[in-house]
């Protein structure tokens, strides 16, 4: 159980507004690690639901292999352009490649799993 420095550096490029879930990482190969960024706009019911739903799915499917950043666009509106955010909430899978984007409050778990292409934990 070591922190992967390779995974840490890209996070510094973009300011992170909130780190709601900073887990200690399992040392896995880079392709296994999930870096997820959730865009919200204030503490709306959908935003809160999305955070809760995401944490739960990650704990179930990706325990120890993920990292979530939550970006509140009300605080950092300039970040919306980079990931081409239109809908709120939007979840972006930044790693592993390719980048994937799903929208909604993540209540449809099956859609989230398909959308993020989550492999079951072995």
């Amino acid at each position: 159980m070591k922190k992967s420095s390779a995974e840490k550096s890209p996070a510094k490029k973009k300011p992170i507004t909130k780190n709601t879930a900073k887990k200690s990482f399992t040392k896995t190969s880079a392709s296994d690690f999930y870096r997820l960024r959730l865009y919200i706009a204030g503490q709306t019911p959908n935003s809160i639901a999305a955070i809760t739903n995401l944490k739960k799915i990650c704990e179930d499917k990706l325990k120890g292999k993920y990292r979530i950043e939550v970006v509140d666009l009300l605080v950092k509106p300039q970040l919306a352009k980079g990931d081409q955010i239109i809908a709120i909430p939007t979840l972006v899978r930044r790693l592993p490649p390719p980048v994937k984007k799903i929208i909604g409050n993540l209540s449809k778990t099956e859609s989230v799993i398909v959308g993020l292409d989550l492999q079951p934990v072995s």
Binding site: N46, A50, I85, I86, I88, K108, S111
Partner: protein, 497 residues
């Protein structure tokens, strides 16, 4: 252009308007787009919607001190910058000065999985951020319909769009939203349902291989507007719309007179020539000296120091200069002095509307006192006769409003002296000079007479037109028995009017 004419109309309404800076459009709308409201501009691909939007922003930023944001759903900032650079708009510079901001919104078709409830706050935040950064007063969304391909939930999208339009109005932003024309509705996705204030439709038609662009104000709440289709032109200077400059005949008739350029022709018209600001039609068969007459008129105007604009649709300017030298007329000094401007175009290079748009724009730019169109026959050949009539009404009205004296030449054909188009346009004309060939006793000669000239006791006699190296001269009055048999019957002309 004819700002003085459209002002009273704008003053009557209390609705605040924002000028677009697009030539002609502000006249047609009586001052521009509704301030703080959303205007829908719709039409098919390539009809000029995006350009209209960009011009609205660029003119706003440069001329009216109103910064603008373009949220573009179709083209990247780089592409858009390159596209409008050909029109002389420097978007990069405007962006640097915080006058204009382009935000490219990319929507990946079918790539976004939906996992529950959402709204379009991301879009709102981006727009609000851009508006705040440059303190924008104008917004263009081009084309917001792209969202329909990326967002699967149409119900969410529709409620969000209506929220977006309301938000724009709450922020007191004057906005243009573009939409693709649908087959049974104004726009494919029914955007017109959300826009209550102003809807402009653009059209691009091809009739007999000649394209014409037209603009129509479908709806403009709280203001009177023309419901006609207005032709417009897109060229290297952007969009120009040809408006009807007067819906009523209000132009002031001038009493002053100007020379025709031929002393003996002046004599036939009370010794004074044409009324200033009047329209003159010169008809004649081939080779009767129509262009020479026009050139004399222009030369006389130039020698008085008046600017002239000569539209030629048959000959190149250098050809005219050469030919006129052969009849003792050197126009070159006037060209060099900048008093005489030639504009040569092939009649078929654009539709009649295009030509008229060019004519309007050049007149607005150069502000001549005399305009010659030589000949209108060729313009007529590019379009149906109904179109010609309505367009000429617009042009003649415009010229009279600007108090420009105009001369139109028209080619008629032998044996057809009462040529239909000539009769159709003659009612618009104050003066009609007829030139013709005749061969009494086997000796060919040119004849000229003034068929009509409103407001003056003109001569009704036919005289021989002598064209020589020394110039144009009128000969003796021809006696009745010397007149050609195919003389135009004045009674028939009166009936045509």
């Amino acid at each position: 252009m004819s700002g003085a004419n459209s002002k009273p109309k704008a003053a009557r309404t209390s609705l605040a308007k924002v000028p677009t800076g697009i030539q002609g459009l502000d006249e047609v709308t009586g001052g521009g787009l509704p301030k703080g409201r959303v205007t829908l501009v719709c039409g098919r691909a390539g009809c000029g919607k995006s350009l209209l939007g960009m011009e609205f922003l660029v003119h706003g930023a440069i001329q009216y001190g109103e910064p603008g944001v373009c949220m573009n759903f179709e083209e990247t900032e780089e592409k858009l910058t390159a596209n409008v650079a050909s029109l002389g708009f420097d978007l990069r510079n405007l962006a640097k000065r915080k006058k204009l901001l382009v935000d490219y919104v990319s929507i990946e078709r079918n790539e976004i999985a939906e996992t529950g409830e959402y709204n379009l706050d991301g879009l709102f935040i981006r727009l609000a951020h851009a508006v705040k950064v440059i303190k924008a007063k104008r917004v263009v969304l081009d084309s917001v319909e792209a969202l329909f391909s990326g967002i699967a939930d149409a119900a969410v999208l529709r409620s969000e769009l209506s929220r977006l339009f309301r938000w724009l109005e709450d922020q007191k932003l004057t906005a243009i939203v573009t939409g693709e024309a649908g087959s049974n509705s104004l726009t494919r996705h029914g955007l017109e349902e959300y826009v209550a204030d102003c809807v402009i439709s653009l059209d691009h038609r091809i009739t007999e291989q000649i394209s014409t662009r037209r603009l129509r104000i479908v709806k403009y709440r709280g203001t009177s507007h023309g419901t006609d289709e207005y032709p417009f032109l897109i060229d290297e200077e952007g969009i120009s719309v040809v408006p009807i400059t007067s819906l009523v005949l209000t132009h002031k008739a001038l009493k002053s007179r100007i020379s025709t350029g031929i002393a003996t022709l002046d004599e036939m018209m009370e010794g004074k020539g044409f009324f200033r600001g009047s329209s003159v039609l010169v008809t004649g068969t081939a080779g009767t000296g129509k262009s020479s007459l026009a050139a004399n008129f222009v030369s006389a105007a130039c020698s008085r120091g008046e600017g002239c604009l000569y539209f030629t649709f048959e000959e190149s300017p250098s050809q005219i200069l050469r030919n006129m030298k052969s009849v003792g007329l050197d126009l070159e000094p006037w060209v060099n002095k900048g008093l005489l401007h030639f504009n040569a175009m092939r009649p078929t290079c654009t539709g009649l509307e295009g030509h008229l748009a060019v004519i309007h724009r050049l007149i607005a730019q150069l502000r001549p006192r005399v305009v010659v169109i030589d000949p209108i026959t060729n313009l007529i050949s590019t379009s149906g006769s109904y179109d010609v009539k309505s367009m000429l009404v617009r042009l003649v009205d415009f010229l009279k409003m600007e108090q420009i004296t105009s001369m139109f030449t028209n080619l008629t054909f032998a044996g057809d002296p009462q040529e239909r188009t000539a009769a159709a346009v003659s009612s618009l004309m104050d003066t009609w000079i007829v030139l013709r060939d005749s061969k009494p006793n086997g000796r060919p000669r040119r004849e000229l007479y003034v068929l009509k000239s409103r407001g003056m006791a003109h001569s009704r006699e036919a005289r021989e037109l002598i064209v020589s190296k020394k110039g144009l001269e009128l000969g003796i009055v021809l006696n009745d028995h010397l007149l050609a048999t195919n003389a135009v019957d004045p009674g028939a002309v009166a009936a045509a009017e």
